[in-house]
């Protein structure tokens, strides 16, 4: 059997004295898209932060492998170079850092970490322009400091632009659909679908079944109180939409 892209085994994490992840088990084979749905505050973003390497959390149990390698032992930048990408639920604004400078630094840092050469400026510009036009992102926007003054939806699109540019192996999208208008949802979904291939996996966190009409998942998981309590095919999302989470609250403890 081939190694899955992502393997999470009995993952427990806490912040200060509060346990938030309470034994997450999740395996995403190469090429699959898994959706995660769950109540507000159930720990979905926490899972995404823990995977990306945010410092605030203490991992108390469990392991995470990316392509068979110990993800938790890596620094955030190493995780990115290993192929992890998190499209943030709330992308932050960083004044003083120009978007293009940032994109180039990120791309070249990852290439360097993988032992590849730097991209030339014309090649870089071409790649950004291409990714931008696919996502209807005005090139004027990219002249601003990172995310500064971007609308909510623009920020989400900019996250997907970064993802398209960096070509990660493991894409984690945390509510990328929230804040998008109907047209933008189509554009972004098209952008995400274009990235689907046999070597790339995705973890798509969302509250709305609607997104899953565009980005059709292979597996849907229900997240409740810090763990996955139910998994099924795409119809599970329809079932959730109709009935809510109540049925799953005390499931599979």
């Amino acid at each position: 059997m081939t190694t899955p892209i992502l393997e999470i085994r009995n993952l427990h994490a806490r912040i200060e004295d509060r346990e938030i992840l309470k034994g997450v088990n999740l395996v995403i084979p190469a090429g699959e898209v898994h959706a995660v749905m769950g109540r507000n505050g159930s720990g979905k973003s926490t899972l995404s932060y823990v995977l990306a390497g945010k410092e605030d959390y203490e991992i108390t149990e469990g392991e995470v492998l990316i392509d068979g390698e110990d993800l938790l032992a890596m620094e955030p930048a190493e995780r990115a170079a290993a192929g992890v990408f998190l499209a943030f639920q709330y992308p932050i604004e960083i004044p003083g850092v120009a978007t293009m400078t940032f994109l180039k630094a990120a791309l070249n840092a990852q290439r360097k970490a993988r032992g590849e050469g730097e991209l030339s400026t014309p090649d870089f510009m071409r790649a950004v322009r291409q990714a931008g036009s696919d996502l209807n992102i005005d090139s004027e926007m990219l002249k601003r400091p990172l995310n500064v003054g971007f609308s909510g939806g623009e920020k989400k699109r900019a996250e997907v632009l970064q993802m398209a540019l960096l070509q990660p192996k493991m894409c984690i999208l945390d509510e990328t659909d929230s804040g998008l208008d109907i047209d933008a949802l189509q554009v972004v979904s098209r952008g995400v679908n274009a990235l689907r291939n046999a070597g790339r996996s995705m973890l798509v966190i969302t509250h709305y079944q609607r997104l899953l009409n565009h980005i059709v998942p292979d597996v849907v998981h229900v997240f409740s109180d810090g763990r996955i309590v139910e998994s099924g095919d795409k119809d599970l999302a329809l079932q959730l939409e109709a009935k809510g989470y109540a049925d799953f609250d005390n499931a599979a403890a």
Binding site: E55, E75, P76, R79, A80, I92, G96, A106
Partner: protein
């Protein structure tokens, strides 16, 4: 006769007194004999107690030639070099620039010991007269060469009506415990546009004192930038006075302070006439056990109606042992003015850092990007490309040195 209370003079004070007497500056010598160097009880030196901080004063500088210190070159600039207070052979000046020398003493008298010492000890002054639009950046390269020495230097610049010029002054020297005391007088004529930058790049072992006096004429536009990135003890004093209506000035500065350093920028701006505006933006970054000081005073005279002045200090702490101090003061004697000040101090934002790292940018590089971002507001307005490259290089050099 009143018996002056005897104070204990430090070795540095004894040396200074002898040097001042030797230069015929008896009254300055006398003041130091009686009062000593300013201590923290003197308000304007509250955070920079010279009596404690200035341990030794080396012998007065001898004339030296420029062989020792490597020069900092700014591509395309017209460079004038002053070594140990004396102007070296000057290359022929661009059209509109007249270069000369005169007896020292360029600053207006004021009750300040560093000003007194400069006036007494500067061997000569470099005089520049600027007329017309000068495309070439003027670089005044001031150096302290040879063995450790106390050296004073002075520059006097007149910018004529409607002229435009960018001047950068850099301070470098041999790797010795020099004490430099430098002065610049800059008069900005009617409607003139001037950028004036001073950068201390002296050896860590050195002490750097500088006093810049600005006289700002009607409808003039001035931008100043003072950077400390060299000596372990430094203080740059900026004394500015608006003397004509309709003028605007941006006063900016940057303290780059690392372990064992104490850097002080002290600003005193006087809006003396109506209808002038100023913006003060000072940034301080400190790491290791170090101290960064900014004191800013804006005085609005009684007749200076419609003054608009906003002063800001932003500090960035890169270590727990660093201290960043800020003392803003507004003294307003007019009633129809808009004035304000603020200061903030913090560490690098952990969420910003995480965002950059999560995209594959290693921690050190991410920190550098954020520090550059923090400084952009002060460095970006310098439009000349070669100059901007040099200034960013100085910041990057400072950042790299700390790693």
């Amino acid at each position: 006769m009143r018996q002056a209370q005897q104070i204990r003079l430090s070795a540095a004070e004894e040396t200074l007194i002898a040097q001042l007497k030797g230069a015929g500056a008896d009254s300055t010598a006398e003041r130091i004999s009686v009062a000593g160097l300013p201590t923290r009880r003197v308000e304007s030196y509250h955070y920079t107690d010279l009596k404690t901080l200035l341990r030794t004063v080396p012998p007065l500088a001898e004339a030296a030639n420029a062989a020792e210190a490597p020069a900092l070159r700014i591509a395309g600039a017209y460079q004038l070099t002053i070594v140990n207070g004396r102007l070296q052979a000057a290359p022929s000046a661009p059209a509109g620039v007249v270069v000369g020398t005169a007896a020292g003493d360029v600053l207006s008298p004021r009750d300040d010991v560093l000003v007194h010492i400069n006036s007494a000890l500067a061997p000569e002054s470099l005089n520049l007269h600027i007329d017309g639009v000068i495309e070439q950046v003027i670089h005044i390269d001031r150096r302290s060469d040879g063995p450790a020495a106390h050296s004073a230097s002075a520059v006097k610049i007149f910018v004529a009506e409607s002229a435009k010029v960018t001047i950068i002054e850099t301070f470098l020297g041999s790797n010795e415990a020099h004490v430099g005391n430098h002065a610049t007088f800059l008069a900005v004529g009617t409607g003139a546009e001037v950028t004036h930058i001073t950068v201390d790049l002296s050896a860590r072992a050195a002490t750097h004192f500088a006093s810049n006096q600005y006289e700002i004429g009607p409808a003039a536009n001035l931008r100043t930038l003072a950077i400390h990135a060299g000596a372990a003890l430094s203080r740059t004093q900026l004394f500015a006075r608006f003397s004509g209506e309709g003028a605007h000035a941006d006063f900016t500065g940057l303290n780059l302070v690392d372990d064992g350093k104490h850097c002080d920028i002290t600003l005193d701006v006087n809006h003396a006439v109506p209808n002038t505006t100023s913006k003060e933006m000072f940034k301080q970054i400190a790491r290791g056990r170090s101290k960064a000081v900014f004191q800013g005073r804006i005085v609005v005279s009684r007749d200076a109606q419609k003054t608009d002045a906003k002063m800001m200090m932003q500090g960035l702490m890169l270590s727990d042992e660093a201290e960043i101090l800020s003392k803003p003061e507004l003294e307003i004697y007019a009633d129809d003015v808009v004035c304000g000040h603020g200061s903030t101090c913090g560490e690098l934002d952990a969420d910003w850092l995480f965002y950059l790292m999560s995209r594959g940018i290693p921690r050190t590089e991410a920190e550098t990007m954020l520090v550059r971002g923090f400084l952009a507001e002060v460095l970006d307005p310098i439009k000349d490309e070669a100059l901007s490259t040099v200034l960013n290089g100085i910041v990057d050099g400072w950042l790299l040195n700390g790693k």
